[in-house]
Symmetry: C2
């Protein structure tokens, strides 16, 4: 019988990230992660489909925040304003976990397989945001363009945010990047 | 001894695409592609690393056109204007092959593994365009934002172009999408 463990999921995530960062993603086994968290492999697989999935566990929550944020924007908001509000809402999800996020980015950057998975997650986020914009009546390709630009803004801001030298919060960096996007696309 | 074949590469590409489209990417073997092109498996592997790579053979040429186009833009061009000129140059690479391109998009859309590879190629294109902009003196994140937006414009335009009902040429669709990008990001 498997004993119930408080926050097994969180412990597995912390243990996995520490091991990936120390010895490399490819050199870490699920058995080692489970052992380091004081849990079994079976418990690991109850929470995560595979070794990669541990690092992308928050992406559904992020998607919900973004899609919800777009839907909740006032009717008068332009498509980009709706995305800006959604990004602002999503930023709050991360504010407490900068150290974890920085470590996670380092692990992903070091492994092509993980970078691949991240690209897929970002593409799927952009597609969901575009769908949310279409539900607001935004025309098909305008929705895609705005959503993709928004996700790029998010990605760039996130990278700046986890940089050791950075002192700004994520929401502020997102607003800066949006301003920059408007500047580079101005006719 | 392997007999020299005129345009073995092109014949392998046509044969592969036809088979992928008819029986599905996952149900087609390299042996079948080679046989259908009247060539050997060995010849296939001289030209392509794997079954997926056949479909992405033009991406280096596309990258060269885009990077070259950005570099060749006049000094007075804004970052987005430089990307617009590069996209215009790249469009000429495709004008003759709409039917092939449409079939290729259909095959890619039907297979998650191929969609994954396409995302990676697009991300790598965007990174190269961003680097080309940096070499023009464009600031780091402005370069990324402009390059990503440019690649999204390209992707959307390409999808519209291969649509059966479309009668516009690729260059025109790219200019339309750029106009749309400017409209959605206008403050």
């Amino acid at each position: 019988m498997v004993r119930w463990q408080p926050d097994a999921r969180g412990r597995l995530q912390q243990a996995a990230l520490a091991l990936y960062d120390e010895r490399g993603f490819e050199n870490t086994t699920v058995a080692q992660i489970a052992e380091s968290a004081g849990l079994t492999k079976r418990t690991f697989f109850r929470h995560f489909g595979d070794k990669r999935e541990v690092l992308f566990a928050g992406s559904e929550q992020l998607e919900e925040l973004l899609v919800g944020g777009v839907a909740a924007a006032p009717d008068s908001a332009t498509p980009l304003q709706a995305v800006a509000e959604a990004l602002d809402a999503a930023a709050t999800m991360f504010e407490q976990g900068r150290e974890y996020a920085a470590r996670r980015q380092r692990v992903i950057a070091a492994n092509p397989e993980l970078r691949e998975r991240e690209l897929i997650k970002l593409a799927s986020l952009a597609a969901s945001v575009a769908d949310a914009l279409r539900r607001r009546g935004v025309e098909d390709s305008a929705a895609t363009l705005t959503a993709e630009a928004g996700i790029t803004v998010f990605r760039i801001s996130f990278q700046r945010w986890v940089d050791e030298a950075n002192r700004k919060d994520l929401g502020r960096l997102i607003r800066d990047s949006l301003k920059e996007l408007r500047a580079v696309t101005a006719a």
